[in-house]
């Protein structure tokens, strides 16, 4: 249960040494490792961390609250476009842009929440797809501002940390690792708070949740806002890291599905599940794309779709609650 993480602290001093050693080792690898990793693999690691954070953010709405969003690309795209536009047109630093992107994403989440409050299951999913599509089409339509289908390239300034630009990939690694740590810590705290339990109740049965005192509307909107802001921050990072965005890659349905998949495969309603999900799926996607993508476009989505189909057919009921006890403990599942 909840005490699980605390239980480790009270062990005998002699037994502490091994976990401590292990922890030190892991920390060393995490901090120093990236310096020795070849660039290509470091890129995979960075993308994995990015999708882990995205999966954790999605999990707040899609996992804990059980609202199956297929439109998180909307928030990702907002986070990618707003700071980039500010930078391209007014030379505003992306560090400030993050705040603007997060704020716009929060407003978008309130709007989406307000429109979709009463929708269930497939209707909510359709509405979220439509929401992201509207933004994608808007980005396509406003050619003078966004560059339309051509996309936007971020001006290269050399090593300018104040503009979130670095000569070495490894600094991007530290930035996104910090983002993931913050996101995971927020979700971890949320999961054991009243808010987290409210989401859990909503995900199970909204009507009953109301009758045991859960303000479902306010809670759902709050969850959507939290998830949207986290997702937007990831979007900003993505744009700054890749140096290029276009409507399809940041607002597209494919991205929304990938993000959801990370949480579904790793474990819904778990703190670390999406991290594990990303560790499985992202290298798979990057490698298939890297090895085959040049010759065979789209192959990583075929792999993704295939994985998703297999996962669903193996345990159509078990996706939500069937994680084994050991795995449950590993990913910190509720009440495991």
């Amino acid at each position: 249960m909840r005490e699980a993480p605390v239980a480790g602290e009270g062990r005998l001093p002699g037994m502490l040494s091994l976990p401590r050693l292990l922890r030190g080792l892991v920390l060393a690898v995490v901090v120093v490792g990236p310096w020795v990793l070849p660039a290509y693999f470091l890129h995979i690691v960075i993308m994995t961390i990015l999708f882990a954070a995205l999966g954790c953010a999605w999990n707040v709405v899609g996992g804990y609250a059980g609202q199956l969003s297929l439109g998180h690309a909307a928030f990702f795209g907002i986070g990618a476009y707003i700071p980039t536009l500010l930078q391209v047109h007014w030379k505003v630093s992306p560090w400030l842009g993050i705040l603007a992107g997060g704020a716009v994403a929060a407003v978008a989440a309130v709007v989406l929440g307000w429109v979709t409050l009463r929708l269930q299951g497939p209707y909510f999913a359709i509405a979220t797809i439509a929401f992201a599509e509207v933004l994608r089409l808007t980005a396509l339509q406003l050619r003078e501002v966004t560059g339309g289908a051509v996309g936007l390239t971020i001006p290269y300034l050399g090593h300018r940390p104040l503009y979130l630009q670095f000569e070495e990939k490894v600094y991007y690694y530290y930035v996104i690792a910090a983002v993931l740590l913050v996101v995971v810590e927020m979700v971890r705290r949320m999961a054991v708070s009243r808010f987290g339990y409210y989401l859990l109740a909503i995900g199970q049965n909204e009507m009953v949740a109301e009758t045991v005192g859960v303000p479902t509307v306010a809670t759902k909107v709050k969850a959507l806002v939290l998830s949207a802001v986290m997702t937007a921050v990831c979007g900003t990072f993505y744009a700054q890291y890749i140096y290029f965005i276009d409507p399809f890659s940041v607002f597209g349905l494919g991205l929304s599905v990938e993000v959801a998949l990370v949480a579904i495969v790793g474990g819904l309603r778990t703190v670390w599940g999406p991290v594990l999900g990303a560790m499985v799926l992202r290298p798979l996607a990057e490698l298939t794309q890297g090895l085959l993508g040049a010759t065979y476009a789209g192959v990583q989505f075929i792999v993704y779709g295939g994985v998703l189909i297999v996962v669903i057919l193996m345990r159509p009921e078990g996706l939500i609650g069937g994680a084994s006890r050991l795995y449950g403990r590993l990913v910190g599942r509720f009440g495991g």
Partner: protein, 290 residues
């Protein structure tokens, strides 16, 4: 604004709307009978378009006539898909149902990308630019044919559902699964048939628009979202509602393009969807809960 421009937009809207109706009827059938939201419906249309395209490239078969091939082929594919995949998540939680068809859609889209690249492809038939003029308004021959075929097929589907045993069985299952079972109907067979018919209708839609529409791997996405709007507007499993909704959305889109330009059509469509969902969260004709 010139009245002829408005009239032209109306004509274009209705002609396109007929195709939306056809595609939406397929979606609403699957929705109503199998109780599954088929997120891969647009890919049936896309597959129908590619098949039509290759038939034209290889044999110069007219795209409209190609519907006679694409309908049975995609129908069979739909049946297979139901037997192998979709049929296994009936009664499963929303999550499994939604993400299974989304995954199918993702795989089919990217399979198309892999096989045919992202290039826009089109056929050039002789009547591609032909048009009948009535006053200042042009009726594109290709669009007229597409509209005519779509309306005939929609009508035949209606006849099938009301006049044949299989069609009646389908409606029975849609209305009350348990009662249908008591009448000796095997629902699993009916589900498979509904998916097959739905896929065939989408494929027909794909064939008849080929003379004036490009095909590319994600072409189904915009159609399926339009079809969702139509189906939700018309009510779950309501074929007549889907037919009328298709025409309405065709016109709404046409005026959206006229007023906003480019992508305005689809955006107007989504605005309509949002409005409908806000007023009726379970669709226009669905029974209100409580």
């Amino acid at each position: 604004m010139h009245p002829e421009i408005v009239l032209q937009a109306l004509v274009n809207g209705v002609l396109m709307g007929g195709v939306y109706s056809l595609v939406s009827i397929g979606l609403t059938l699957i929705f109503g009978v199998v109780r599954i939201v088929n997120f891969a419906h647009g890919e049936f249309l896309m597959a129908g378009m590619y098949l039509t395209y290759w038939l034209w490239v290889l044999t110069r078969l007219d795209p409209v006539a190609a519907a006679l091939v694409t309908m049975p082929v995609l129908g069979g594919f739909g049946l297979l898909l139901f037997r192998v995949l979709i049929g296994r998540v009936l009664g499963a939680p929303d999550l499994a149902q939604i993400f299974l068809t989304v995954a199918i859609s993702l795989v089919l889209q990217n399979l198309a990308l892999l096989l045919f690249t992202a290039n826009y492809r089109s056929v050039t038939v002789e009547y591609a630019t032909a048009a009948l003029r009535v006053g200042g308004v042009a009726f594109s021959v290709a669009r007229l044919i597409a509209f005519g075929v779509a309306v005939v097929l929609s009508f035949l589907t209606g006849v099938f559902l009301t006049r044949t045993d299989l069609g009646r069985a389908m409606r029975a299952v849609a209305q009350d699964r348990e009662a249908a079972v008591l009448l000796g109907i095997d629902p699993n067979r009916i589900y498979g048939m509904a998916v097959a018919l739905g896929a065939a209708l989408a494929a027909a839609g794909g064939s008849v628009i080929m003379p004036y529409f490009y095909v590319f791997p994600t072409v189904g996405a915009s159609f399926v979202l339009m079809a969702f709007i139509v189906v939700i507007m018309g009510g779950l499993g309501n074929v007549t509602g889907a037919f009328l909704g298709g025409l309405i959305m065709g016109v709404a889109e046409s005026f959206g393009i006229l007023l906003v330009g480019g992508h305005g059509g689809v955006m107007v469509g989504f605005l309509v969807l949002v409005l409908v969902l806000m007023i009726r969260p379970h669709g226009l004709l669905a029974a209100p809960k409580g």
